[in-house]
Symmetry: C2
Subunit: 447 residues, 2 copies
């Protein structure tokens, strides 16, 4: 019995032969075989896969991390890949084949059996992150006139090919979805009962072009383990299972965090410092350019800074505040855009709410900084300039943080980008501009 | 047929009576009823719930967002809550009752039926974020000597109480887990076959004290829809289903993003600007205090700044770089800690890798800034100070970003905190300290 998921990872001797490695791994869950192999050289992973039967090899391949899988696929030849892909469910086969470069992809497709090729080619037409991109073409369905024992016969026939059967779909003669029967209902039903009398006619379905993140929301909302994908005319096109949805949820969370942190999960499997650096540099360059923008602004106001050097001391307060307020605001807007469709077109309402919050924070923080700077430097004019600009910067950052996600979405860019470095950097520059602009006006006016 | 999850949300007339609202909502999925009610005053939500039958009311209550649910529970009296909780599965009942304040919690427990009370009290002993905290006590199991028709009889008996049955667990006389049979196997089996001959003896299990995030990793790794929770002696204690795991994945992702962005999902349901402000202020205060720390450092080096004002211009470059490098590094460390247990105790190895990346970035970015500042100001000494300190700040930030998550974990704090405001703020101050420290030494030496 498996007690803990990491105890099943086998520590392989890197000097062992592929035959002996395959022997040590025999009988493990494909996910554990994959995890064990991720610590071995890619050449050796490929040789071990060749020792396994095609079905196991396929399941292991699917469980390898994307990076190792790509390297293994580069080594395997087209007939080998076709052999393994032929044993996979269609969505996994499409993922494997879709990841190949052009000449090799066609070569693999040509080696597949006629039926498999058609199915995979169909699935490859959908974009990666849509319901079509994660659905399988394998599912169990019966005609609405069928009886329970017909349904069981269909399951028996399909059981070899399908890893998971949760439901049997009920269709009319044109394969339009009419209802669904759970296995639990079938287990308890009389063999002669009509499926139409037992089926649940209210089925939650999705269309093939729905974004995978929205599909995940549907699963989570209705507590589903599988969902049918239907064409616009109601024809059953495919099925999505919850195991793929867990992967979608994981990937989407990774993606959000990557955007915010300026790095990517790919890094995990990267040992070359240069290549990791190439992943991280763009974000750092954006930050550096923003910093240089700020330097330009400060250079522009150098006369004021020369007059009152202490103004420079509070630049970090201003930039920290602009960045933080902007990030808080854009994060809330982006998250609520995802979970709540009402937000579409409600920019103005959100802006009012965010302004009310920003005004509250501006009064509290601006006031606190006014007192601190005043007491510290004994210069209440400086205190007024710093406190006042901080309040202004909070308002500006909240406005940018609200407007940016909506603006990005309108021009077809993922609003999550507003949580990334561009907006923070923009907020830094605008914050310093507001701060020194106000300060120099103030200083000139009052001499 | 349901085509899209948002089309099922009913827009209720706020002036309507609770009876007519209940009528409009009748027949909808509880998740849709909950979503429709979230747009109505809490008082009214409670009155509508009283119109529904207890089972539906319970399912709707569980589907309400946490905030609305807490308000509804504050209005409902103990017998009402007990009536609704009695219809729920034990994990949901425990969640509802566990959220109550002390005198009310006991009153509700006292109103439950003897059996239900014992089960809920048992579940309440587990911490919220453990396997025990998300498991149900309802599951289907048979003795290893049973036959297929016995198993079907057990399912028939349980079918009323359980929403989802994916598997039947097989136990010995002391209720120790021996194996599992999927419904699919049961559907295809002969009624007289022995379950012991059909069961899968290798079962992935978890213990009740496992962290819910680790349980989610087990589900995702092995593509599970349900997992048995066992006591240390192998006794079956409960079952976790994938719908709860999807909620865990969602919550954990939210939590990570909240830590990074300095805000919380609670905000979504909060209209009061003051209360939203109270959620966001602590993070802003940390940033402001950090900014004041930076101001103190700059004040300390004011003589150098008076001599070379341009030094101040590059403070934003230094703080942006320190913050970004620190965040990239700590994010990668925290993420890889989660997915890869090998990292435990490998601080030194990670540090070496991060340093190699940091040195690469330091050379590239330090060199670029050296050139830019030199060409811009025609002052190559200033250029050397800014470029050199930037390189030093990158190394320091990478070190902090690597060491902090390990240090936090060692003292029992969630390493994810290292992605939050404290570390970024610390990096700001240390960055400016390094920068101005190096600069002033340089300026004094070279006159």
């Amino acid at each position: 019995m498996v007690e803990h998921h990491d105890e099943n990872v086998v520590h392989l001797d890197p000097a062992a032969s592929p035959e002996s490695m395959a022997e040590r791994l025999a009988g493990l869950h494909p996910a554990d075989i994959a995890a064990s192999l991720e610590r071995v050289e890619v050449e050796m992973v490929t040789r071990v896969l060749r020792q396994l039967d095609q079905e196991t090899a396929g399941d292991v391949l699917v469980n390898l991390d994307e990076h190792t899988r790509a390297e293994v696929l580069a080594i395997l030849n087209a007939p080998e890949i076709a052999g393994v892909a032929g044993e996979l469910e269609s969505d996994d086969a499409a993922d494997v084949i879709g990841a190949l470069e052009e000449p090799k992809r066609d070569a693999v497709l040509a080696k597949l059996e006629e039926d498999d090729r058609k199915v995979v080619e169909d699935l490859l037409q959908y974009t990666d992150e849509s319901a079509g991109g994660i659905m399988t073409s394998e599912f169990v369905y019966v005609d609405q006139d069928a009886r329970v024992d017909d349904a069981i016969a269909v399951i028996r026939e399909a059981a070899d090919e399908l890893d998971e059967i949760h439901n049997v779909y009920v269709t009319d003669r044109d394969r339009r979805l009419r209802g669904v029967i759970s296995l639990r209902t079938l287990v308890l039903a009389q063999p002669g009962a009509r499926v139409e009398d037992l089926m649940e006619p209210d089925v939650v379905t999705v269309s093939a072009d729905m974004d995978q993140e929205d599909v995940a929301e549907v699963f989570r909302k209705y507590d589903l383990v599988a969902i049918p994908v239907v064409d616009p005319d109601g024809t059953l096109a495919g099925r999505i299972t919850v195991d793929d949805i867990m992967d979608v949820m994981y990937e989407e969370a990774e993606e959000d965090i990557s955007i915010m942190a300026g790095t990517r999960e790919e890094e995990f499997h990267e040992d070359s410092a240069l290549r990791v650096s190439r992943i991280r540099l763009p974000w750092l360059v954006v930050g550096a350019l923003g910093g240089l923008g700020s330097a330009t602004v400060m250079n522009f106001y150098r006369l004021s800074l020369e007059k009152v050097l202490a103004l420079a001391f509070f630049v970090p307060v201003i930039t920290a505040m602009g960045g933080n307020v902007g990030l808080q605001t854009s994060t809330i807007i982006v998250r609520s855009m995802r979970t709540d469709r009402r937000l579409v077109g409600e920019t103005r309402q959100r802006l009012l709410r965010e302004w009310r919050v920003a005004i509250t924070n501006a009064i509290i923080l601006g006031g606190a900084i006014y007192l601190i700077v005043g007491l510290w430097f004994g210069d209440w004019r400086l205190a007024a300039v710093v406190g006042g600009s901080l309040a202004a910067v909070i308002l500006v950052a909240a406005t940018l943080g609200t407007v940016m996600p909506f603006a990005l979405r309108r021009i077809g860019i993922d609003p999550a980008v507003a949580q990334g470095p561009f907006v923070t950097t923009l907020n830094d520059i605008i914050g310093i501009l507001v701060y020194l602009g106000l300060a120099s006006t103030f200083i000139e006016r009052l001499g």
